[in-house]
């Protein structure tokens, strides 16, 4: 899965510090927008969903998986974009369990391919020491060394 991000240009080490979670989601959308997999219409929906339902997209402490309905007009293709924020972003005041630094934005036009992507992402995040290693990444070279270390 790390190779997938790497080889498809779907990984970004963000340098700007987002002001809040909403901006963080917008930053994390840029990788997929650059590849024409989504448009702002989808990104707006992702932001609205969090406003409506709360930060359930933070799937484990440190890791956010921003996504919305696959039927949204702004979903043009299928893929996952991986953005590493320079600092941890808070989604819920006084709840560090809902902080995130690793953002995996989903686009799901093709449901079978998406199913496989989700399976790969689960496997990646369940790998021992993976989240800790990803948190430390500051450069693309760091990313490559984590990728080679875990061979994923």
């Amino acid at each position: 899965m790390l190779r997938y991000f790497h080889d498809n240009g779907l990984v970004k080490i963000e340098e700007r510090v987002p002001e809040n979670w909403e901006e963080a989601i917008r930053f994390s959308a840029e990788v997929l927008k650059d590849k024409s997999l989504i448009t702002d219409e989808y990104v707006n929906q992702v932001v609205n969903d969090v406003k409506e339902y709360g930060p359930y997209i933070v799937i484990i402490p440190g890791v956010a998986m921003p996504h919305s309905s696959a039927e949204n007009q702004g979903v043009l293709g299928t893929g996952i974009g991986f953005t590493i924020m320079p600092e941890t972003v808070s989604f819920e005041e006084n709840n560090p369990e809902k902080d995130a630094k690793l953002f995996f934005m989903l686009a799901a036009k093709d449901s079978e391919q998406h199913m496989q992507n989700i399976a790969n992402l689960s496997e990646l995040l369940m790998q021992d020491g993976m989240v800790e290693d990803l948190m430390q990444i500051k450069t693309l070279e760091d990313f490559e060394s984590v990728m080679n270390k875990h061979n994923m």
Partner: protein, 100 residues
Amino acid sequence: MRVLVSCANGSGTSLMMMRTAEKALKELGFKITNINHCSISEGKNSAKNYDVVFTPTTFVNMFENAAKKGVRVIGIKNPMSVKEIQEKVEESDLAEVFKK
């Protein structure tokens, strides 16, 4: 046992949680006859056709009607944690009812 996994829009969290639930339940020895994932709006209507619903904790109250009809509704915090799902299943009466 018929299993439904539901989240806000049915395309991300629920899919991930469905994989986890399937693994967790199989390890506990449950026989899954049917497992699906969907959005909350869809799940509110279809939940009655299932024996158990897994959903992020924040959405548990959306399934009040199904719960009244006897569907077990289980809130899950971490969609990737096999352990959490197994613990919550063991706290419920699912094993008693469905593992005969």
